[in-house]
Symmetry: C2
Amino acid sequence: MFAAHDLLKSARGSALAVAAALLLATTAQAQSDPLPSWNDTTPKAAIVAFVEKVTAENSPDFVPEPERIAVFDNDGTLWTEHPMYVQLAFALDRVKAEAPSHPEWKDTQPFKAVLDNDMKALAAAGEKGLLELILATHSGMTSDEFQKIASDWIATARDPKFKKPYTELVYQPMLELLSYLRANGFKTFIVSGGGVEFVRPWAERLYGIPPEQVIGSTIKTRFEMRDDVPTLFRLPQVDFIDDKAGKPVAINQYIGRRPIAAFGNSDGDLEMLQWTTMGGTTPRFGLVVHHTDAEREYAYDRESAFGRLDKALDAAAVNQWTVVDMKADWKQIFREK
Amino acid sequence: MFAAHDLLKSARGSALAVAAALLLATTAQAQSDPLPSWNDTTPKAAIVAFVEKVTAENSPDFVPEPERIAVFDNDGTLWTEHPMYVQLAFALDRVKAEAPSHPEWKDTQPFKAVLDNDMKALAAAGEKGLLELILATHSGMTSDEFQKIASDWIATARDPKFKKPYTELVYQPMLELLSYLRANGFKTFIVSGGGVEFVRPWAERLYGIPPEQVIGSTIKTRFEMRDDVPTLFRLPQVDFIDDKAGKPVAINQYIGRRPIAAFGNSDGDLEMLQWTTMGGTTPRFGLVVHHTDAEREYAYDRESAFGRLDKALDAAAVNQWTVVDMKADWKQIFREK
């Protein structure tokens, strides 16, 4: 009995030790994997190889920290952009909310289309019509007022497919990528076609990116003293569209350094990817998120109205940019709550 | 003798101990004074009081680090702007350097005035003429090429009064102030009326301010692929003038947060000072550098062609902004080499 008991105790002890060791190993592995939502496929390996290369001191590929600039598109790269850009959903909701004080909208396109929920007429209004909706709903107030309107909206609005707040439709693998880059001395920027004052109110909370690292499209703004209160007033005029060839222009204007890594998902990001990766003397990294997962999110590319990925997909092949196949490469799509 | 000798030894020892203690105390004081080039007058006390107030945790005036944004004008605030803005001296030199490929300039104002060293005719050309000179000399090349031209120029150009490189005419007290703020968790930005791509090439080296924290006036830029090389080409068109009411607009557009401290020296900084200090729920700090030292630098204010300080001086009194009297408040003007 005594020996058997001892043996049992010893076996128990060993089992515990093995279990503990396993647990520790698992924990260590989880801790050491900075990209747990990425499958062990090519994109993850390419990201890690690039980061290790540019951060290895005494290597010819070493890039000093201040030059480790990484730029990210927002819509379709960091969060969902279907069935329409979140900012467009915001504009449509604002038209409905403001309609009572604009009785003329009932008979004027493209506003009438919005109020009638006539998506066909809205589509017929084209880009010009959408811009008109954006300008009408994004101007006529101070910057502070606009940011409050946008923040209040995002707190309650729900995505029509997933029935969740838009802020939950942020991609978990990209959040891990942002953190991984920052942990390796990168400064991360958003370079969005969306309005900068629409993105900023939640960029810090969602992505850990402070307002001064968010670049986007801008509306003309006028400074004035109103009863001794300094005010920035938003005017119904486009200042700058931060899309396509506008992205490298804005990157140069706002950051003043050429990034060494760029992340996008559509033709709107083509020039940003070119500017980042082509030319320059240090290693560069370009990545395109390809929406291939109709079940967990959406599948679209060359024919899509929002986030069309056509020329940039061809350019990715030519320039050896990493292409993420969301279905195959991402274990999980959306962020953990 | 013995006793006397001992006494002497002891006295010597004490003297040495006292001397050592004094030396230590002096060193400690020097180390603990973050603003050694500032006299112990009101401005220094006001700066220190503000910084201590917003950084004291558990105080009602505490401001979290991400919101400690400080904005600095450049010309006349961080370096000398007389007898003319450094960038204008650059433009005049460029007109002379490029004249051989522009034979028409010999007979065209305001270029003729520059080539003839006719300062009267140049002054008569007014702001419109100066802008013409700036655009002609700052466009027609890529961004990379322009930054190289500007860097090469600043490396050899000399200020006419002090016969020194312009980069030595940076104010030592302001360098200490920048460091002091950064050591206290502030993020420091330049908000200059000068061209952003003119200031950036040396802002990091001179002021410790990286390119992405330099905001300035901009020229229109076009992205294009030239023989598969992505290129940003500078066009002869003004994009944005970052002066007067433009400064708060740019601060909002680039930084997206309202600064809590602003430093300027002229009417061009009035709106930036208003935007920073008036309104807002946390403590704010505004400071105006008044050029009062004709001997060590220059004395000018309400009538000056460059850096006129008139409305902003009146506003400083009303709004309790700190006014630096350079002659009385600064021990040393220029940076140590």
